[in-house]
Symmetry: C2
Subunit: 432 residues, 2 copies
């Protein structure tokens, strides 16, 4: 029996804007940041639960404050009760009526809940001495459906349908785990394609991506069509016809504009078009998808919750679903989203990069492969080679694959030295 | 020439949960609260801009922290530049790429921006020595469209269409202003219908509502169908056939459940059914609207932004649109929403109550009557008789009408004594 003694938060910011890493059509100068939380207990095992919300700089303090609000809910609570009933724990936090008013289920408060839920999963996996992907994959279908909040999903996915999907995927799970450990999980790289890079740097990084074994790259687009045509052309000429190229507009366009713009790039054979417009625009994405078919539309890193995802699947707004490790209310809501995607037969290709997103989201894709969709055909996890050195267990990506982490936990734990060194102090603030 | 010297925030909470005022099917024990902001300048005129986000208690501290984040944007800025270009000012704050990541355009950060934008409007109206409804109504169509962010609206409303709506409404504006001052604007009351009230209290408050001149009341429903049938029946028997009765489920239902439940209440002749399900569920609201026609569906107090509202209008998800004074990014975004509603011919009946919402939102309805829709037929502003005594210029509601405020400003200014007395101190926190 142990008790939560503290939620310790840190405002961590890396000054990435100095190098234009991560620059795109909507986000010219991100400072990759984490509103970071450690859950401490009085158990002498020394295990801590770590989690975070990824942000791109200013406002990270407000995100930290939202996580701090949750200390009042968790400190003093029995750890085993929370961890043994992760479905109840998650629903208790997301359905608290007063906190719910601040969303509901979206934005800063929702992401704060996600960080705390994920930190509890990290603690649970560490106590079980297994990586999170393995912990989740070894849960039974009945245990897994207990993690979900089926509220507002009934028009698309019932508990019985979810059980049926999970039971079907349980067949062959052991074989797939052997295969996963032997061959890893497909990755693609966004490293070559940031908008702020020169043509020479783009060309060089495309060559390196192919050399490193990636079968897909992604380019940021949407600032200038002629530049995009030139850059996608350079990429296609450099990687050849056998490597896929996705493009990402980061919500830059109106609906008609998106269709026109994408059509002008289709000759380069696009794997998908990501975030063409507002992430809230279910109807707009559906119109774009119809207008650019058969090129798939991908979105999700800014989709606020399972209710919006459910509608995007119902309206065929997306053909590639991109979960994010820290946008929704943690692992529980992401498992619901994986089940929705499986129900509609849509592949999940997670958003990653930023800081720590690769480390965490790989667990969900590997779990999906083993226990939900049962396949990684047409699926690939984003990889960006930034800031991994700050993590206790950085991702292992080589030969174009993510290699399953063996260490216990969720992957979220950042090195103490990095957290200290990059703790944001107000006076560092750059003039806005 | 003056400069913003400070954004001073206060965490104000009224312990309303002790009396079950404001109790509904999703929110059993709200503590009406305000994340309050004062914008101070170095101008010797002593005018301050006041604004707030309404919350229901826990998490109000996180909402305050999000407003504090905006101090870094505003302190030191020239006041006249900001106030003279309120469209630019609003778009600058909502399109800041780093802050935008925290939504985008939804949740705590978006509402924080709304509070600050509204505080600037309050300051602008005070400097102009007019109430905000008058300030807005006297702006030209060209000035008004400059306030809007048309991004993501192009499938439903262009700048030219907005101009056309405003120019059409400009005809007869002077006459309508005379009429407004003479006859006020229709109000309805939710005071009788809180879920925690006894049947006797319901009956008594229904009688008082009719006696006070209200032509519509609203009842909270959704916890128990038999209770709802009894309570709506009591209300109908008490108010008679000539007073409208709306019901409000506060997001309690699944889609099919909503249709079944509402059909079981339709014999009592419902003016509208409010928030039947998730405020993110565009498709679900549309299905409910089809399933309960001709009873109208109303929603909006939790609709995150103009992009969701635009889709709800496109899909006929709502037949009554309920703007809220503090959910979206302030007056500017609400003006866009009023224009969208006018485009689709849907009446706007604002959400109010809480603390301070009546005081602020009346300005938008009166502006809508004068300069956008040009009518108040089928339109009515919610009124709840709570906490008005804490405002410098409390609403004047009598004879079932809102009476246009004459005092300069937006109505948001809370008495200094109330702010001090109800400033939340952590140790008051009730166990969760």
């Amino acid at each position: 029996m142990s008790t939560i003694t503290a939620l310790e938060t840190t405002d961590v910011r890396f000054p990435t804007s100095r190098f234009l890493d991560g620059s795109d059509a909507m986000n010219p100068d991100p400072d990759y940041s984490a509103a970071y939380v450690r859950i401490l207990t009085d158990e002498p095992d020394e295990f801590e639960g770590h989690g975070f919300v990824f942000t791109i700089g200013r406002g990270n303090d407000a995100q930290v404050a939202a996580i701090d609000t949750l200390a009042g809910y968790l400190v003093g609570k029995n750890v085993e009760t929370l961890l043994d009933q992760m479905g109840e724990t998650y629903r208790w936090l997301t359905n608290d009526s007063q906190l719910r008013w601040l969303g509901p289920e979206k934005g800063v408060m929702h992401m704060a809940t996600g960080a705390v839920v994920n930190a509890l999963w990290d603690l649970k996996a560490k106590r079980a001495a297994v990586p999170l992907w393995k912990l989740l994959a070894d849960m039974s279908p009945d245990e897994l459906v207990e993690l979900i909040d089926f509220r507002y999903l009934s028009t698309a996915l019932t508990k019985e349908e979810a059980l049926s999907i999970l039971r079907q995927a349980a067949v062959g799970k052991v074989d797939r785990e052997v295969e996963l450990l032997k061959f890893g999980y497909p990755a693609y790289t966004t490293t070559p394609g940031w908008l702020g890079y020169s043509d020479d740097k783009l060309r060089r990084l495309c060559r390196e991506a192919v050399r490193d074994g990636f079968r897909q790259i992604k380019l940021k687009v949407g600032a200038n069509l002629e530049d995009d045509r030139r850059r996608v052309g350079i990429a296609r000429a450099t990687v050849g016809d056998d490597v896929a190229i996705a493009i990402d507009a980061n919500q830059r366009w109106e609906v008609d504009e998106a269709i026109t713009w994408i059509r002008a790039l289709q000759e380069y054979d696009l794997a998908w078009v990501e975030e063409p417009t507002s992430p809230d625009d279910i109807l707009g994405h559906a119109a774009i998808a119809r207008g650019i078919a058969p090129t798939p539309v991908a979105t999700g890193e800014h989709v606020a919750n399972r209710v919006i995802f459910r509608q995007m699947l119902q309206e065929q707004s997306l053909q590639v679903l991109q979960i994010d490790a820290s946008r929704v209310a943690g692992m529980n809501e992401n498992i619901a989203i994986l089940l929705l995607a499986a129900k509609f037969g849509v592949p999940v290709c997670p958003h990653a990069g930023g800081v720590g997103l690769c480390e965490v989201v790989q667990h969900l894709s590997m779990f999906d492969y083993l226990a939900v969709s049962g396949t990684h055909t047409g699926r690939t996890i984003e990889f960006v080679d930034h800031l991994h050195e700050h993590f206790v267990n950085p991702v292992q990506v080589h030969s174009g694959r993510y290699w399953p982490p063996a260490q216990p936990g969720s992957g979220a734990e950042m090195l103490g030295a990095s957290r200290s060194e990059y703790t944001f102090i107000e006076c560092e603030s750059i003039a806005i």
